[in-house]
Symmetry: C2
Subunit: 408 residues, 2 copies
Amino acid sequence: MLDHGVFFSERSGRVKSSIIRELLKLGNQPGIISLAGGLPDPDLFPIKEFKECMDEALTPVNGKIALQYGETAGYMPFRESMLELSKKDGIDNIDLDNLIITTASQQGISFISQVFIGKGDIIITEKPTYLSAIQSFTTFGAVFKCVNIDEHGAKIDELESILAKLKSEGKTPKFFYTIPTFQNPGGVCMSLERRKRVLELAKEYNFLIVEDNPYGDLRYSGEAVPCLKSLDRENERVIYLRTFSKILAPGNRLGWIVAPKPIIARINLMKQSSDLCSPVIIQMATDFYLKKDYLWPHIEEIREVYSVKCKTMIDAINKHFPKEVKTNVPEGGMFLWCVLPEYIDTQIMFKIAVEEQQVAYIPGSAFYPDGSGNNTLRLNFTKPTLEQIEEGIRRLGTLISEEVKKHG
Amino acid sequence: MLDHGVFFSERSGRVKSSIIRELLKLGNQPGIISLAGGLPDPDLFPIKEFKECMDEALTPVNGKIALQYGETAGYMPFRESMLELSKKDGIDNIDLDNLIITTASQQGISFISQVFIGKGDIIITEKPTYLSAIQSFTTFGAVFKCVNIDEHGAKIDELESILAKLKSEGKTPKFFYTIPTFQNPGGVCMSLERRKRVLELAKEYNFLIVEDNPYGDLRYSGEAVPCLKSLDRENERVIYLRTFSKILAPGNRLGWIVAPKPIIARINLMKQSSDLCSPVIIQMATDFYLKKDYLWPHIEEIREVYSVKCKTMIDAINKHFPKEVKTNVPEGGMFLWCVLPEYIDTQIMFKIAVEEQQVAYIPGSAFYPDGSGNNTLRLNFTKPTLEQIEEGIRRLGTLISEEVKKHG
């Protein structure tokens, strides 16, 4: 049998099948309550409204455009709508050349990796951070420097220390990747003061900021904080990644990037050779969805349901988890983050959870570029039903209590 | 103003905005007859049938799956249909692990680049070859060795010479990228004998074959020739790229790759970090389209229309082009390839064509990795109407005749 391995590029060898993904396959078996994935509640998908919009995209006239090749940057009326939508985020200093449509924000992250990261380039991320961003940055050879988070987001003093140390070594990071609003997996929201400071540091130390904002519209309590991009008044430093995955439906695979024009131009070239263009049919249908003013009432509905689910999970945790577990109370997003006693390895516990208690979560180490965080785990409250949340947390509580007792 | 260039990776610097793309923007102005792009005829899109299938994907039950995240490898029922479809191509020695769904074949080409090409790696292509494949391979640092084509496809003696020379230098190419059936832009179909010989050489010199087959189903005359993948009985050497772009509609952005399992597994990891998955909604609708047996009658209809358009263009060329122009008579596909006298530079002539004669084509040098082919051009006969073909060729004939006269 031919050994295909000899043909692979060094780059492709850097992509490892994550142990977590293998583990999660276990958690997808029937009968298991999954608090693992980052999936929205499919009962909330606006199927009827989206079908109405899709029907409009497939009239005899529109269909000829919807089913043809489209522009790489995106279907023009849809891009114009994204410009409008950006104003809602306080971004009013851009035009169409600052914007490109992507296959949800994962493709945005992939383009950022391709455009900026060469082997050995330094990037800074939060710790923990988004699993698939770690994967993409790793593929292109990034060296990670990481900043811990607390209840106000990334710890700025740590960021400053890292930057100062790099500077003393004559090094500059390419960018700081951050999910400032309802961080994945940490659930925290970065304070306005810290956001301003991050921008100051970016100027002082000359690096870019990649702001990933999939959850910003899912706020259940507290005051809105402006996105970093809206604070980037010179429109120089921040590359802003957005997606419809959590506010409309992941299945439409649509996102957009707002960034300085030279960066959008470079990303456009990357997209040309990556997939030529995203499907016009879905861009057009989603554009109709926006023009019919379906989006904001829908987000309101999602917020109400998710907010109840979030509270239900927190109440269940207070009832069923031993006091040794520390959990944050997020003001929005999709996740709760749990820090367990250090003697509990959540990756080892995962197998017991799935096999004995029939409940799944994501072991926290998946979110650490350095593989630490063994005593942490992430819980999702948007996909499971209220009953599954209650019962899943009860089961997990039983298991953690047993583990604590063993070491008590 | 901040210089963003200092942040770009070396890789992203390799992506150049093609002069051709800039030129083609001129050709898209209203009033100009475009024989340039590789677009299907939108009047043939099966809009009504696709809408019926989309409606079925957006029933209250299906919609919850169609709008959710999907598996990276593709929506399972659709992948199973691709397995069936592969049998039509004579590929019967594969299972689901040999197959992955992509965002049309451009994403397939991009994954091939990422998985195999490191900076300085040698690949072999036909000359001329597909513009966006050149772009993608270049991005990842490929060094090109090229084989000329004649009316029976890639010239095998040249391929052998290149391989022998590389071997004598201790070098091995990663793969041979070929469009054997109705080559883009050459229009030629590789003979069975040559296909067999390519496979023998791949074993002898230990390289892979990337077979790109977007046009194989668009045959208007002559006998079908088996695809290279169907001749790869050990399922070891050939990576087979397919797409719905030319046989259903480009707008659904769906393609698939058939390849040895270790390669599919590696591509799957790449797709995870590139875009997680392709839209389930379109995969599901396209799957319904196949299950309702709409595809083959539709292809039959396309074939009839395109075959008439092809003949119309050939007749018009015979009538209007000076005898100094050599044009092939393709048995299928979407393109005619013209070789003009060497004193005519088709890139310089393009501006006159657009500005004075209001007709556009693609200057052939775009399809040459080494930038040669200045006296060649590609014509598309699928997108323009019969009237546009007739008139466009008349105008182009006038222009070429003038150029010939100047040098006569």
